[in-house]
């Protein structure tokens, strides 16, 4: 059956990043150069072709954009300056918005007003919660210090309430992500082809998900290993922090000042270091614009870096102020910390750049499933 080309899809695609993909004349150098492109899952050329022809259904069912880790070799070797690497990046943004059933992702990617508006809305809600709602329930700021001389954080931000809030937020984000992943599965595996994947294969290959989430072995195949290392530090720091904050908050947000060699402090310091290291590499990279990978920055890229950096910096400040007994400074830092953290988690993770933490490992998993698919 013939597929209708749609030249007007261009107008949509162009909103997700640079859009001059007609420069590509299909020599295939990019695909030949790519260390990750493999038989059956060839990219970037084939995907650029789908973009050029406006084949929406074929684009949506593509898993390949997620298999690209943007080393930039394709862009460096492209004889036409078509920038295949950035085209794959913008395709990931487009796909993120296509998986998302709420339509918010599309709004955030295509309109800065929407994205910044939502972030500000959540930030204001957080500030109001601390300044108006919590005090009205009797939780007040106190300059009184603990016996060790630390700030009494829990009297200001009561641990059982914050914990409940964290869990609620985690569940909302998780359900959004899971529903989007199901849509991704539907588009890539279910709807796309004339093939069938057995349940056994689904179960047998499931380990790939965890393995890929933890190590990103595909990323390590890119020629420049440095980014894989800095990304791994960032990712491990983030994961540790996320688990600690959601699952072990009562253990983490203590009023006690634990010895420096205590696991809680060591984990916290490691995560902070990992995050800062990864962030620094990305920020310097994007500011210098020397490496192809960082040459083109979408608003969502900068916004994300800004929010994560602010979260880390305010987190560090909370820690320093608390153990030094600087009560008000601690509270202000805490409010600021939550005011960036909450919108970041609620917007970036399910709807924007951060969602790749789920889509990428699943894409590797789905790719493996497709390899074992039987023609229907």
């Amino acid at each position: 059956m013939s597929i209708r080309v749609n030249p007007e899809l261009r107008n949509q695609l162009i909103q997700y990043g640079i859009g001059d993909w007609n420069a590509c004349y299909h020599c295939g150098t990019c695909t030949a150069m790519c260390p990750l492109s493999e038989e059956g899952f060839l990219f970037p050329r084939k995907k650029i072709r789908l973009m050029q022809m406006g084949l929406e259904a074929q684009l949506e069912s593509s898993v390949e954009p997620w298999l690209c880790y943007y080393c930039g070799d394709c862009t460096k070797t492209c004889p036409r300056d078509a920038n295949p690497g950035e085209l794959m990046m913008s395709l990931r943004r487009y796909l993120t918005s296509r998986y998302d059933w709420t339509g918010l992702s599309k709004k955030f990617y295509t309109s800065e007003t929407w994205e910044i508006g939502f972030i500000l809305f959540f930030a204001v809600m957080v500030v109001l919660s601390f300044l108006v709602i919590l005090p009205s329930f009797g939780f007040r700021f106190t300059t009184e210090l603990t016996a060790q001389g630390g700030v009494k954080v829990n009297s200001f931000a009561p641990i059982h309430i914050v914990e409940k809030f964290d869990w609620t937020m985690a569940i909302i984000v998780a359900s959004l992500l899971i529903s989007n992943i199901l849509r991704m599965y539907y588009k890539i595996i279910w709807k796309s082809g004339q093939e069938k994947v057995s349940l056994f294969v689904h179960i047998r290959e499931f380990w790939l998900l965890i393995f890929n989430f933890a190590v990103q072995p595909k990323f390590s195949k890119c020629d420049d290993k440095n980014y894989w290392i800095s990304h791994w530090f960032l990712m491990s720091g983030y994961t540790i922090m996320f688990i600690v904050i959601v699952v072990y908050l009562p253990w983490f947000q203590t009023e006690k000042i634990l010895p420096i060699y205590n696991l809680q402090r060591l984990l916290g310091y490691y995560a902070t270091f990992g995050l800062l290291f990864g962030l620094l590499v990305a920020i310097i990279g994007r500011a210098r614009r020397e490496d192809v990978k960082f040459r083109f920055s979408h608003v969502s890229d900068w916004l994300f870096l800004f929010m994560l950096t602010s979260t880390v910096v305010t987190g560090i400040l909370i820690h320093i102020f608390r153990i030094n007994g600087m009560a008000y400074a601690t509270y202000i830092a805490y409010i600021a910390h939550m005011a960036v953290l909450v919108p970041m988690i609620l917007i970036e993770v399910p709807f924007s750049k951060w969602s790749h933490l789920a889509y990428r490992p699943f894409a590797v998993y789905f790719t493996q499933l497709k390899k074992y698919a039987i023609p229907r």
Binding site: S2, R4, V5, N22, A23, Y25, H26, M53, L55, Q58
Partner: protein, 574 residues
């Protein structure tokens, strides 16, 4: 006849010959032959010292025949003929044995190649024994020139010659000058106006004192030969006018391919499937509209219509890709939001500024779709009622490997440039040959691209093959320069190795007249024998081989010479 004293020179051609042929052995072997006074070998016979060696030996050893065993005579025969002439020998007493192209380059066994080289030299020795001295001849040149075709090539050639003060008769079949170019809107790759470019040229041609323009006139017969041609015009205004001229430029151009031959495109069936020439006309009106008077929302431009396809024409028309990209700019300017599809087979952007033009055009928000000429052509069909377009193009898109359909309201077919069908008269009159695609054949595809095998007849522009404006103009001016040079010289050399009739043997069957490709033989009704016009004759030998009585012979290719050569090659027994 004086005793033949032959000098044989075996060339090494660096290692080209010496690597596969034992040149020493050849030299020794042929040195033993009767009448061979000396045999030598040298690294490069064609070099100045090589030629000097021959000249010195001719004088020192009183040689009267020379043989060089080297490369093809096409390359250096003239070089050595000139060398022996310098030493006082008639150049036709020289013979060349080709032991490179016919021997060292094509063989892998050194012993066998050496034996073959000896055979070839023996053949040459036997042949040269019977060579006769021939005298060079020349004819005077009429300074007027006939230019056939008033397109851009014909006009530019005419202006070039007329500006040098020489008379030009410009013959045009239609009722206007300017050819196809004057109908164009813009030209690629600079998007400059064709009409603005043509206007002053037309005025200069029409008003030039040295150019005489004959419109609605065709050439049916040309008599004479280089330097002295003649024709009689046969149209209503100039009935009986006789023109005399020394040279001819054929610039008869081409015609667009008729796409109704290609069923897939439904040209003639769908009113909004038009040719590139028709689209040029539409651009001239200033509005791009479908037959229903609406602005098309989707326009497809199909490339290679009738080109690069064994079913129609195998060759590439060279200009259509860039013309199609030019259309993109024109459509974009008129209809900024219309979707444009370039349905191409390969993008050819070979010329100066063309690749840049292609790269620039890709940014004009168009969709490039590739089809495979050898697999399946795109098919145009009527759209369904539910579709928001007039027609649908179904095609196998090559770069994605997907079967796709393209919604369209207007289709522009980039038609091939094809040779005129009705040029046979001109072809016969001026004595040029046609290639398989009916284009005029040049004398040499690389070294002599504007001359033909008929002396004094030049071909320029698209009758020689599809080409764009700059190439056509370059050819036109090149031909003009060639002609001006012969006019300045006053005389032109003519072929020496012509055929001649032994009137005693001629039975008057006229077979020779029917086979002569240069119309050089006529029949003498009084004597009842054939006569050869030695100026027209090219010495091809066709008449000689066709003559049933052996009455016609070709100078320098007599039976005795050729049979001796064959005997020579067969003389060694194996």
């Amino acid at each position: 006849m004086e005793e033949p004293r032959i000098g044989v020179y075996v060339c090494w051609c660096g290692t080209n010959i010496a690597k596969m042929v034992d040149v020493e052995a050849v030299t020794t072997e042929v040195g033993k032959l009767p009448n061979v006074v000396l045999a030598k070998n040298y690294k490069y016979m064609c070099s100045d010292p090589g030629q000097e060696l021959i000249i010195k030996d001719i004088k020192g050893h009183n040689l009267n025949r020379v043989i060089v065993a080297a490369c093809s005579p096409r390359i250096h025969e003239l070089t050595f003929r000139n060398a022996v002439e310098k030493a006082g020998i008639n150049p036709y007493l020289f013979e060349m044995a080709n032991i490179r192209e016919q021997d060292s380059w094509v063989h892998t066994d050194r012993t066998e190649a050496t034996t073959k080289a000896i055979d070839l030299v023996i053949a040459a020795v036997r042949r040269v024994l019977y060579h006769e001295p021939l005298e060079k001849r020349s004819v005077s040149v009429d300074p007027a020139t006939l230019v056939i075709g008033g397109g851009i090539s014909g006009m530019m050639a005419s202006l070039e010659i007329a500006n040098a003060g020489k008379k030009v008769y410009l013959i045009e079949k239609t009722d206007h000058l300017g050819g196809h170019v004057v109908k164009f809107d813009l030209t690629f790759p600079h998007l400059s106006s064709a009409k603005q470019m043509m206007r002053p040229i037309l005025q200069r041609v029409e008003n030039h004192p040295n150019i005489e323009v004959f419109l609605q006139t065709e050439i049916h017969e040309v008599t004479g030969y280089v330097g002295n041609f003649k024709t009689t015009l046969r149209n209503k205004d100039n009935e009986g006018t006789e023109l005399k001229f020394g040279n001819i430029i054929a610039a008869v151009g081409l015609k667009p391919f008729d796409p109704s031959k290609i069923e897939e495109y439904g040209y003639g069936k769908f009113p909004d499937v038009i040719t590139s020439m028709e689209f040029e006309d539409m651009l001239g009106t200033g509005k791009i509209l479908t037959k229903y008077g609406k602005e098309p929302r989707n326009i497809a431009i199909i490339h290679c219509v009738g080109s690069r396809n064994k079913k129609y024409h195998e060759y590439c028309s060279r200009t259509c890709c860039m013309a199609a990209l030019k259309f993109v700019h024109q459509i974009r300017a008129a209809l900024p939001s219309t979707n444009i599809f370039e349905i191409y087979a390969d993008m050819r952007a070979y010329g100066k500024g063309h690749e840049e033009f292609y790269a620039m055009t890709t940014h004009k928000q168009i969709m490039f779709l590739m089809y495979d000429q050898q697999e399946r052509l795109p098919v145009i069909r009527q759209a369904n009622r539910s579709d928001d377009c007039n027609m649908i193009i179904e095609m196998d898109e090559k770069l994605s490997g997907l079967p796709i359909e393209v919604p369209v309201d207007m289709v522009i077919l980039m038609v091939n440039m094809e040779a005129h069908e009705n040029v046979k008269d001109v072809v016969h009159a001026i004595g040029v040959s046609l290639c398989g695609n009916q284009f005029f054949i040049e004398k040499h595809p690389k070294l002599d691209p504007v001359a033909t095998t008929t002396a004094g007849v030049y071909i320029v522009g698209t009758c020689q093959g599809p080409k764009d404006i700059p190439d056509s103009v370059a050819q036109a001016r090149a031909a003009a320069a060639r002609i001006l040079a012969t006019i300045e010289g006053g005389t032109v050399p003519v072929e020496v190795t012509t055929s001649f009739v032994n009137e005693k043997l001629c039975c008057g069957c006229q077979t020779c007249i029917s086979v002569c490709p240069y119309s050089a033989i006529s029949f003498n009704e009084i004597k009842k024998v054939s006569e050869v016009n030695e100026v027209l004759c090219k010495g091809c030998g066709t008449c000689g081989s066709a003559c049933p009585t052996g009455a016609i012979k070709c100078k320098h290719f007599t039976d005795l010479q050729i049979l001796s050569e064959i005997e020579g090659i067969m003389s060694m027994s194996y």
